[in-house]
Symmetry: C2
Subunit: 436 residues, 2 copies
């Protein structure tokens, strides 16, 4: 297909939704993308560009001249335009901004003045705000008037924000409430005064949690003085929620960004950094084994069994860690219930430790006809499960208190603890009991 008939490709792509066209670009190989782009250039709307994966988009945008990027950006709502421009290097950014209409440029520059991943950067600057004391009828007339000017209203909106003369939000009206209310009723009688306001400085993770918790469709973003400056809508927040929730598995494993479109060198660097850190901890654990070389030389069966103790501890620690990181991320684990959660994990660790100790201890005693060896490995298993449970919760909770993302760095500490303690308890007990 790809090698020849452009018009056929065009016909196939034409009926697709912009999001599907974007997916198509991600699925074809890097080398085929420009050929595809040429074949379907009319279909490369700004929607398609804004749906593209960050890395793929960067790739395509880099190939375009500044005026073309500026043209695409102007068709987008501010939040999508900012996404397009924020990843460019500073020189290209300036070139694109210079090509834009002064009004759009100002909006984007203002967005870029906020730190990445904050509400100020992510919000949409288009929204509908009306004064108090107007009626439902006034509002509908106002919207119909504005609709004649294509730039006046956002394409889609879900709520009307009611503001006081200082532009501070006093209430919010879902459109469905307006549609079912007679024209003569005042907006203040329809609106909900209780609303969730998002500070411009709020981190995207907080924003995502608010939307989830309160089931929001859109929410007003306010500046330090409490003035309405933008809105966040749920369709954008959905991407943040999925990203934030999905990244824990990637961060816990040290896989970096974990995007399969990431340039390979960045991926190697991210993963290798993590592996080298883990190499350090593996050597630490190995040095514990080194203390017992004589015992192992005398009784090599110890070397056969020791990875079981450390490995099972590692597994149990990873379980506790995954649960704790998730509970911290969703605000289910707070300072109020930390002690209860620690008690819970230690109870689970004891139960699992004893069960595993009976299995492996009993098995070892029978298979090797050596009850003392069975008792040693069983005891070590209990000790290491408790270590795993303790480290699995204490490490992420402590990192969170220190304002370090627990998903990023917990795993090193936890597996170091279970490796070191696994080898030390098993080999140490073996020597103490005179097994070797």
């Amino acid at each position: 297909l790809e090698d020849g008939d452009k018009s056929e490709v065009y016909d196939l792509v034409e009926p697709l939704h912009p999001a599907d066209v974007a997916d198509l670009f991600e699925l074809v190989g890097r080398e085929d993308r420009s050929a595809l782009a040429e074949a379907v250039s009319d279909l490369l709307s700004s929607e398609v560009i804004s749906e593209l994966n960050d890395y793929v988009r960067e790739d395509m945008i880099d190939a375009l001249p500044a005026y073309a990027v500026a043209e695409i950006a102007e068709q987008l709502e501010t939040d999508d335009a900012v996404q397009l421009i924020e990843d460019l290097d500073p020189r290209d950014q300036a070139a694109v901004l210079a090509e834009m209409e002064p009004e759009d440029r100002a909006a984007i520059e203002s967005a870029l003045s906020y730190p990445e991943e904050t509400a100020g950067r992510l919000m949409q600057r288009e929204f509908v705000a009306v004064p108090e004391h107007i009626t439902v009828g006034d509002l509908i007339d106002f919207l119909r008037d504005e609709a004649s000017d294509p730039d006046a209203l956002p394409t889609d909106f879900f709520e009307i924000f009611v503001v006081d003369p200082a532009h501070r939000p006093v209430g919010t009206c879902q459109l469905s409430w307006i549609l079912r209310t007679p024209r003569h009723i005042g907006l203040t009688d329809v609106m909900k005064r209780d609303q969730t306001l998002i500070p411009v400085t709020a981190d995207q993770e907080e924003v995502a949690l608010m939307f989830q918790k309160y089931g929001l469709i859109s929410a007003a973003v306010v500046d330090e003085a409490g003035r309405l400056v933008g809105q966040m809508t749920v369709d954008d927040v959905v991407h943040i929620i999925s990203e934030e929730a999905g990244e824990d598995a990637l961060l816990l494993s040290g896989a970096g960004d974990g995007d399969i479109n990431e340039p390979i060198l960045l991926t190697v660097r991210a993963r290798l950094t993590w592996l080298v850190i883990n190499l350090g901890t593996a050597m630490l654990a190995a040095s514990v084994v080194g203390m017992f070389q004589d015992a192992i030389a005398k009784f090599a069966l110890l070397a056969v069994l020791m990875p079981i103790v450390s490995g099972m501890g590692g597994n149990a620690g990873t379980q506790t860690l995954a649960v704790t990181v998730r509970a911290l991320a969703t605000n289910q684990l707070t300072s109020t219930n930390t002690w209860r959660a620690i008690g819970r994990e230690l109870t689970i660790a004891s139960a699992n430790g004893v069960a595993l100790a009976i299995l492996i201890g009993g098995g070892t005693a029978l298979v090797f006809g050596n009850p003392l060896l069975g008792a040693v490995i069983g005891t070590a298993m209990i000790i290491n499960n408790l270590t795993a449970g303790m480290a699995g919760i204490a490490v992420p909770v402590t990192l969170e208190r220190l304002r370090v993302d627990p998903a990023v760095s917990s795993a090193v500490f936890v597996t170091t603890a279970t490796d070191v303690m696994g080898f030390f308890s098993f080999l140490g007990l073996a020597v103490l009991t005179g097994l070797a």
Copy 2:
């Protein structure tokens, strides 16, 4: 606070949002929940109940008589009512349903007839559908009329579905489009004909992906005959997205449901099952070491170094696995680009393998003054990194093809591969080269 003054507790809880009251119940210990419930019983609205964590809600619902549960369920929209009732045991379920109004009961029974986690179970049965050929003005008048009957309209809605005489959706209108359009315009001129329809049998994961991909606010759910039977709204889908994205880290670690409110016995059972499976694979890996007992007895340093090779392979495998599982879950990895992705992972594995081999091989040669030992551990490291990369992508992709959730079972296979290959390549090479 908790031990005494009920009215003070009431005053503190009263101004909170239902979602915050629900959080409060989750944060206090199990033993304090009934005291708190008694103190704030008037504030325990159906919204609070529907916001509660599944396990906490089950606990509270179990304590209530059937008629009280039925009363709460009737105040909820069908999707929330179903959530409340689906977890009850069959006898309690029947008792609650018997206490409900026939109409509500029928809606819930119909929902329960669909499998869990499908659109049929999760959808809201309240929605606004109107015939073609009415005007914007007719629609507004209709909504204002209906509004006088509190049960006629859903509390919030975001879209109007336009249906043909057979009740099949022909288009959808966002409320903002209606509000900005003059009364005399026909709805068919406002609505969008291209719409995303959700089959009743769609799995919640598919639904979540559609909402994310197309930025939907709500979508029509249709039965086998294409008739509109319900709607899904983004506020419900947000929970699904967060759950589906967040559960990968938990599933990969075998932590089961991973909810800190889960009854402890269920948690122990889920985690122990996983640990026992891993015990099996750990013993398999140990048996590989067992084949080399003589070599280890002669040269105990091998036992000191072998966990480094297997551990690093495990880390690298987990990285690839986390990335692959995420890419599969978000549909970024499909049959089109599998080979490209495999090539990518093997390139990364080679690069990381060589880098680690130089570090650990060089270090070993220097520290122990034994270049052959350095060469052996370096080579084993490269072999095991390639094993990790290969297994990390091939295992989840194969499981996905077999329609098994790759997040649930991949980790066992991958770590077995890296453990076995880590020990075998290192100890095997040591014997082959005459080191021991």
